[in-house]
Symmetry: C2
Subunit: 398 residues, 2 copies
């Protein structure tokens, strides 16, 4: 018998707590795990000795946790170096923690990987498993990431409503969507489209750098055709020379511990685009919203599929630890449409660590400003049923 | 027998279509109404002759319309003057429209009032009724406005999630909320609070002008106490001398046809506040989101109470037209808590036109930076059941 530790890292999602609950409930069934600790604020909590005992939470509390957005154990943006990881391993040894479940993105998989290698080198029997999460959907190997379906549901519902709003009061509307390096979430803004002329009419992705003048021209074309234009833009959109627009706008942009420019939590990119479009087109009504943290943390809006899969990923990590030494839980799609189904398999931590997966070429249209039917087929099962809407203004006139 | 006309005006809401459907279904039961026309884009559609026939829509379509956010007939920001209203009346006469149902805010009530007076003066038998709608909840006479409960539900769920996000990754988070002249919607950000230290910890309202230095000081105090601070700020927040901060930031701000400064659809105020707070406190992690149009047009997130009341208001307007000449539908609360109930009564158009109702003094705390228990009691029945959440990080440490 030994102890286990779970924690949550990086940007929260709408279902990262479902994964946590999956770990908690499966740990109870694990024959060799005694206590399960939760580290508060991820690796920071481990080295600070900030733990809670998760062994005996009631099922009522667990269900409430599973339904809550954000990370119930707290999170951290710390990116541990070798020395930091050595401290973590020292705590594991001291507390007899031989099972480590780390819920996070590619940086967290990397941390898990480093600690796992250190344990091996020092002859300490640690089972280290990474449970995937990210609204960005940019982890490698896995078909998709827990957290994506719920964020995708949010932006799909948001664009459905925003497009109807733009029909009622026509003009140009820009919506800036999360996704620093990959356009997966921005692409999901299209998933609620029901009519031929439903927005977003243009979708700009980090994978397709574009000059501002070209964007303005494309918006003008849609506006001339439909009398309005709804645009989804990734916060990670890049100029033709591949420099982040957000960086160009704000050269002194705040940089986080991972060396990334702060994109969310600021309306600067949206306002910049609105100004450029106003100036470049002469269209009077141009509005821009930045969806910000709502996309990852809105209460009461989980995709049921995403919530179930996230929980299962947590459970699978614990199951894997019965027979394997380390790895990352990944989802493999075995059926689509009505036969949509997922197999849960294990991949090496190194396969998921560090690098990310951009939106696939086959999911981006030839013009580089929209998605393909293949993307719709891929993403539709992940968001759950979407609301149906109806608009009357386009009916034949009297 | 004569014809009727309905249209929707001003900023859309999540349930203005429920009111439209209420009008449509009740019109079918009206013994003296022949055809029901919908004017596309409000008064603009009337003078442009842009109508659709709403007499024979299927109940399947009507239910989809009722569930859809935004204005299914389109809206307009035109503020008709006397000449404009004369054109409207001429169209009414030409098309034998003797029943006019206008769904909108105080400006729309005013338009309805003017046209009604003109009809009287010219001896034309027009029944003119205003159906209230606004996310701002600032119409006079009525207990609350259809549209408010749904927008309030959105901001309550948003703040529940955002507060949990801020627990996970602590810092200062500013959320800028709609409401040009009244703090009703900003106050509703508090409705999801479940724990003593749940945010928003500070609420800034148009009704309580404040110096930026005082706001920074209050945020620093909360941050020192809790290690984090979530702040809800109305877009209509004013400096100590009662000038809109949004105006002060952007003296050349776009002004709409009603002489109002553009507040939504821009992140400028949020970013300005974040900069001021960073500079004034030295706190590293300060983020700001502007909720923008999501608050009024998110698909699939109606408050059930609000949707039912909005529909009923539409029905009541048609019922009133059987016995009265003109008026605005208002809601009068006859019970609270578990006995929450509403009576629908008629008030003169002039009582609702033009002027607005600020958030009541009794709903604002003594410090001017939060709400009272009386506000919670008032607003809780309007938003429907909110999700329950749970956070583990505050449990006793191991």
């Amino acid at each position: 018998m030994a102890n286990a530790l779970v924690s949550q890292s990086g940007g929260p999602t709408g279902v990262i707590n479902a994964s946590l609950v999956g770990v908690i409930e499966q740990t109870k069934k694990h024959s060799k795990i005694d206590k399960l600790y939760g580290a508060i604020h991820a690796v920071r909590g481990i080295i600070d000795g900030n733990f809670i005992d998760l062994t005996s939470l009631s099922s009522d509390i667990l269900e409430k946790v599973a339904a809550s957005p954000s990370a119930a154990l707290g999170s951290s943006r710390d990116k541990p170096d070798k020395e930091y990881c050595e401290k973590v391993l020292a705590v594991f040894k001291k507390m007899d923690i031989q099972y480590f479940f780390y819920i996070g993105g590619n940086d967290s998989a990397n941390t898990c990987h480093i600690i796992n290698n250190m344990a091996k080198e020092s002859g300490y029997d640690l089972k280290a498993f990474h449970v995937p999460k990210t609204v960005d959907n940019d982890l490698r190997v896995t078909d998709h990431c827990p957290g994506y379906g719920t964020a995708a549901r949010f932006v799909a519902c948001a664009l459905m409503g925003d497009d109807l709003d733009n029909r009622a009061l026509p003009g140009v509307k820009i919506d800036v969507i999360m996704g620093r390096d990959a356009g997966w979430l921005t692409a999901a803004t299209t998933l609620g489209q029901q009519r031929d002329d439903d927005g977003p009419h243009l979708v700009y992705l980090p994978e397709r750098p574009i000059k501002i003048e070209d964007m303005v021209k494309q918006i003008q074309e849609v506006y001339d055709r439909l009398g309005r234009c709804v645009v989804a833009v990734s916060e990670g959109i890049r100029d033709a020379d591949n420099v982040l627009w957000a960086k160009r706008i704000k050269e002194d942009a705040e940089v986080d511990a991972h060396g990334n420019v702060q994109l969310s939590g600021s309306g600067a990119l949206a306002d910049f685009l609105a100004e450029k479009i106003k100036a470049g087109t002469g269209i009077g009504r141009v509005r821009a919203d930045t969806f910000g943290y709502l996309q990852r943390s809105f209460a009461g809006l989980q995709s049921p599929t995403d919530a179930a899969e996230a929980r299962r990923c947590g459970q699978e990590a614990v199951k894997l630890s019965e027979t394997k030494q380390s790895g990352s839980v990944t989802m493999q799609r075995t059926g689509d449409g009505d036969n949509y189904a997922i197999d849960y398999i294990c991949t090496d931590l190194g396969n998921v660590a560090e690098h990310t997966k951009p939106l696939l070429d086959e999911y981006i249209n030839a013009a580089g400003n929209g998605v393909t039917e293949a993307f719709r087929k891929y993403a539709t099962p992940l968001v759950g049923d979407l609301p149906q809407t109806h608009y009357l203004g386009t009916y034949p006139k009297v």
